[in-house]
Symmetry: C2
Subunit: 329 residues, 2 copies
């Protein structure tokens, strides 16, 4: 029996990884070495309720499985936003999904495919992907930060994800850097997310541009968005910064410094030295990373200074798929 | 052989716990249930260099062992300030110890007594004591805060201490609650320790009293210190607060609120709900705990709100001894 099982397992060459987002479902065939030989995506139709979203997931999985031998699939891993129960695979309150309180995603997908299914928080999936196949591969312990619309993350301890006693760990965006500071969406004051999240960065850039003297010069950012300041986003700000735009450089340097402050607090408490940064804003120019590191070095406790590293994530958009698949692999 | 070993172990009824402080060495016979049937203390003579301190420790241990059968002693546990190496029992840079860089405390005590010796950070010892025998006994995971001269602590995960990859975890006092705030002794800005540590609380109280209108009334605090404002300390402030003194209440309530802010950040990141508070200032009146809890409830992420508890440590001055002994027991 054991021999037979071993043979069966040896035949399993891939897993399906699903990255469930409010806009798009990204899915891929993921091999044991983290390669994605085949991937596709579909509209998640999150505004149409859970049944439609699950149906979209099933379509995508069917399509991928149709291209391979199902006997070679070791299972399906799903990364989802919201609060995830690891025991029963339910997904609660994912932001921007209509009519979604608590849905047993794991059970429904398992029923559809008769394959092992695991569900995990999307930020944790990305953290695991970087730990196993990405920028974190050489570090046993690190903090993974997703810097995008909001600020999230995951904590890798001894090469495993730290989930916390209730599965809610890693909310790096909700460290307050000023007890009297900006009001955050979460209700608290001064959360780092409310200073460096995508919306805030874009808004702050717009405000600086509007406050500049109208002396006939036009900032590079204005040119990049054809004067439509509501189109400003971190990619535009990064591009302008690369071209030397003073406003863009100021905004991103400030953001890096503040992120360094939040990170040094958590590095002091958890005794961590390494930070891997992913998410949309992580594509920012190298000077932003320098600002983060300089601030951490200034702020962290002396015995913790040695070995401080802040590095860019490697897997980019595929971290979600690879991390989800790694739940099974 | 196994039977013989079992019999030997059954005869081990106690351990020696040592709490090494810069002023006093506290030591006790600690039984398996955490009881301390016998304890004593000695001047640590920390200003006279490591050799003298070690000699003081040896005297104290000899005295305690002289009162019992050495065959019943399972070993010696030592809680020390500074950076501790768990592997070789060295103690580095304990604050307020003269001429002390790195000393192999574990090795020297082991040599003197031919007994198993374990050395651990003092805050971690106190946290373990509360986890095994004190206020944390019913909680698998909690944050332990030592609120005294400074602010320190330990993180208990799954009933074990979380040391971090380099043994430096739990520096709860060095969470910054204001990136532009008070300059902390550590060099950072806004560390919670620089707002609520003993010295700061006493200084802040003194400043408020000095700013009060001289209208013939005298604050209860002034009466308690006979007008010598430099004698103000948290015990005095607590006493005055219990008697309804407005200044004392203001200072302690502010401190509780700020501590709540720092704690909610770390509870968000680590997914913890329970905080146990020890150290000198933990004797503060119940309204301080209410301020801490109210602030955490206002600030913590919604899914983390359920089950938030902030409780006073139970073992008080003996936590260090019991925790050190628990390294062996």
């Amino acid at each position: 029996m054991v021999e037979k099982q071993k043979k069966m397992n040896a035949r399993k060459t891939f897993a399906i990884g699903i990255d469930l987002g409010a806009t798009t479902i990204k899915a891929g065939i993921v091999e044991k070495n983290g390669n994605i030989p085949d991937q596709l995506s579909a509209d998640s139709k999150a505004n149409r309720g859970p049944a439609v979203v699950i149906q979209q997931m099933i379509f995508v999985i069917q399509e991928l499985l149709g291209r391979r031998k199902i006997a070679e699939c070791s299972g399906i891993g799903i990364g989802a936003p919201g609060v995830i129960s690891l025991t029963d695979g339910t997904v609660q309150h994912p932001p921007n999904f209509a009519d979604w309180t608590k849905v047993d995603v794991g059970k429904q997908i398992r029923k559809a495919f008769k394959l092992p299914v695991f569900v995990e928080n999307d930020a944790n999936c990305a953290a695991m992907a970087e730990a196993r196949y990405g920028a974190g591969i050489e570090f046993k312990d690190f903090l993974f930060v997703i810097w995008g619309t909001g600020v999230g993350g995951g904590i890798i301890l001894d090469r495993k994800i730290y989930r916390g006693p209730h599965g809610g760990a890693g909310e790096i965006g909700h460290i307050s850097i000023d007890y009297n500071g900006h009001r955050c969406n979460c209700g608290n004051y001064g959360c780092i997310e409310s200073y460096i999240g995508q919306r805030y960065l874009s808004q702050r850039t717009k405000e600086i541009i509007l406050s500049l003297p109208r002396d006939g010069t036009t900032s590079k950012i204005e040119l990049l968005v054809n004067g439509k300041l509501d189109k400003i986003n971190p990619a535009i700000i990064s591009e302008a910064a690369e071209e030397g735009d003073a406003t863009a450089i100021t905004v991103l340097e400030e953001a890096g410094s503040l992120l360094g402050c939040a990170l040094s607090s958590i590095m002091n408490v958890l005794d961590l030295r390494v930070v891997v940064i992913g998410g949309g804003v992580s594509a920012a120019p190298a000077f932003v990373y320098k600002a983060i590191i300089a601030n951490i070095r200034d702020r962290i406790l002396k015995p913790h200074k040695e070995g401080v590293r802040v590095i860019r994530a490697k897997l980019e958009n595929n971290a979600g798929i690879v991390g989800a698949a790694s739940l099974v692999l």
